[in-house]
């Protein structure tokens, strides 16, 4: 297995609607990544695209449509997809392109254009439900998360205030992020609790906003990375895992699939005690409670302990275990697959000391990023390490 290094990251502005087409967004993010790495399109051997449902962009086989914007023309180019998990899965797929020895330099591009979908991006989510068992009930996507959140809260007797703190932390963290859609330096727990009730227990500010955006990442073999940097940032571990489609046949209080993915990634990274060995985390936070649920899934705390750590400030940017220093999806925005920008590019920028105002103090060495997808069943985990 070859060591794989990250040499550049890219990320576009995230907004509810952007004027740029999906191709143009892919281009802007790719260009930034190539400029940061100091490489040309001709240096790149293969391209991996990550993008979530076709129904957002409103194009069948949308990977094909996006490929010129993503620098994939006349190159081996492939799109991978596992719903919301794609933002961390596409960089995992990029990793195996280089680690296998098949390619020396690979660009991973993630794009989502949710603003194209009318009347609302959630309309596209109608078709993520089982056509026979669920769709006749005319469900809304938020129901799923409300039901999972309720199960999690009830199991550990968690207070809504402690969950709301996640939105406060992440929206405040996002203040330093140039791409952020919903940064808010002054938001309070009361603001979250008093925001509109969507589907109890989920309030409006518990939900990350739908967005347009793109992100990109450039990998090369560690040998090649030495041409670009003396201090390479490497992919230390990858893991992914899927649970049954039948989400009504299991207990939703704990994400076993995230735990399985995390164990796989930690094993590869040689991490035995994730709590001690991991300096910061970017768990997937499309909803407030998901950050907590995922911290537990990532084995960074005990089951039911994440709300307590959050209340005690452990997960603040200057805490013992900074969580979502990027501002996460709640603060920066949620263009599904393009959240690779917060979940994986951020690991690189933090480890390389390039995170600007968001920089975690204390010279972090190891970070973990995670995403979650499909119908509450997919966990994707990537561990990055300095040198």
């Amino acid at each position: 297995m070859r060591n794989v290094s990250v040499i550049g990251g890219g990320m576009s502005l995230f907004r509810r609607r952007l004027k740029e087409t999906g191709k143009e967004l892919s281009f802007l993010a790719s260009k930034m990544a190539m400029e940061e790495a100091g490489v040309q399109r001709s240096d790149i051997d293969m391209v991996v695209m990550g993008s979530a449902p076709d129904a957002f962009d409103g194009i069948h086989m949308k990977g094909e449509n996006l490929l010129d914007g993503a620098g994939g023309k006349d190159k081996p180019y492939v799109r991978v997809f596992n719903g919301g998990g794609t933002g961390v899965f596409a960089p995992i797929a990029g990793w195996w392109h280089v680690a296998s020895g098949v390619a020396d330099m690979v660009m991973v591009v993630c794009e989502e254009k949710m603003g194209s979908c009318n009347p609302h991006p959630q309309t596209a989510f109608r078709n993520i439900w089982d056509p026979i068992l669920d769709r006749p009930l005319n469900p809304n996507l938020v129901w799923l998360f409300a039901m999972e959140m309720n199960r999690y809260m009830t199991r550990y007797d968690i207070k809504k205030e402690d969950i709301a703190r996640v939105a406060v932390k992440n929206k405040r963290n996002a203040v330093g992020h140039p791409c952020a859609q919903l940064p808010d330096a002054n938001i309070t727990v009361e603001d979250v609790l008093n925001s509109e009730m969507m589907a109890w227990p989920v309030n409006r500010l518990d939900i990350s906003p739908p967005s347009d955006g793109a992100s990109a990442l450039i990998y090369c073999s560690e040998e090649k990375a030495k041409e670009f940097t003396d201090d390479p940032i490497n992919v230390a571990g990858v893991g992914w895992n899927i649970d049954s489609s039948m989400w009504t046949n299991r207990d939703l209080y704990f994400p076993d699939y995230v735990a399985n993915a995390a164990k796989m990634a930690y094993k590869m990274a040689g991490i035995n005690d994730p709590r001690k060995e991991i300096d910061f985390a970017e768990p997937y936070d499309p909803f407030t409670y998901k950050e907590l649920h995922h911290l537990e899934g990532l084995l960074l705390c005990d089951k039911g302990e994440a709300p307590i750590l959050t209340r005690e400030g452990v997960t603040e940017r200057d805490g013992d275990l900074p969580v979502c220093p990027s501002g996460g999806l709640l603060g920066v925005g949620n263009p599904i697959a393009a959240t690779m920008g917060q979940k994986v590019c951020e690991l690189y920028w933090q480890l390389a000391g390039k995170a600007g105002k968001r920089q975690i103090p204390g010279d972090p060495q190891v970070g973990v990023g995670q995403a979650w997808g499909d119908i509450m069943q997919m966990g994707t985990v990537l561990v990055m390490r300095r040198g």
Partner: protein, 178 residues
């Protein structure tokens, strides 16, 4: 987005924000396309039988002898052991609320006045935590809680068509609390 470079970090890629107002005022041009994507899903043996039994007012599951598992909604194969399932078994039309939500959202994310009560019900007679999603009725939102025993309320026989909506909703099962 500001063009100035923030100290210590790369220059992020731009993007042009479009507001709803810009669309209303025709400040941008856009195209419109309505895909004609229609499907007729083959149900397969498991779902066909399940829906047929719902039409008859019954809930049916499948057993996996290897895993000692009673599966509902039924499947022809067991995903735990990856073998075919074995027998049909009728289940009760009662169960336990595993989780729920009180939804003020319709499928297109519009807010609605009267909340929809929805949740997952594990069905009596099936393996633990095995059930499906459905509505709740004949109760106030504040009475709904996890662990509550519920019973299916069926549509009248002549209105049933072989769909999960042949059950109208689940109502509290009086005196049947866990």
């Amino acid at each position: 987005m500001s063009e100035e470079r923030i100290e210590g970090q790369p220059k992020y890629a731009p993007g042009t924000h479009v507001r709803s107002k810009d669309i209303r005022e025709r400040k941008i041009t856009y195209t419109w396309w309505e895909p004609e994507a229609q499907y007729a899903f083959s149900l397969g043996p498991a779902n066909s039988r399940f829906l047929k039994e719902l039409k008859a007012g019954k809930i049916i599951g499948r057993t996996c002898r290897k895993c000692d598992r009673v599966i509902v909604p039924p499947r022809m194969f067991c995903d735990w052991c990856y073998d075919t399932t074995h027998e049909w078994v009728y289940l009760k039309d009662t169960g336990t609320v595993e989780t729920f939500s009180i939804s003020y959202l319709d499928p297109d994310a519009h807010l609605i006045e009267d909340p929809i009560l929805v949740g997952v019900i594990s069905i009596d007679g099936a393996s633990p935590k095995h059930g499906f999603m459905h509505y709740f009725g004949e109760m106030k939102p504040e009475d709904l809680r996890i662990g509550m025993k519920v019973k299916a309320v069926w549509k009248p026989k002549e209105e049933r068509v072989g769909s999960v909506t042949d059950i109208k909703y689940f109502k509290p099962l009086i005196g049947g609390d866990e």
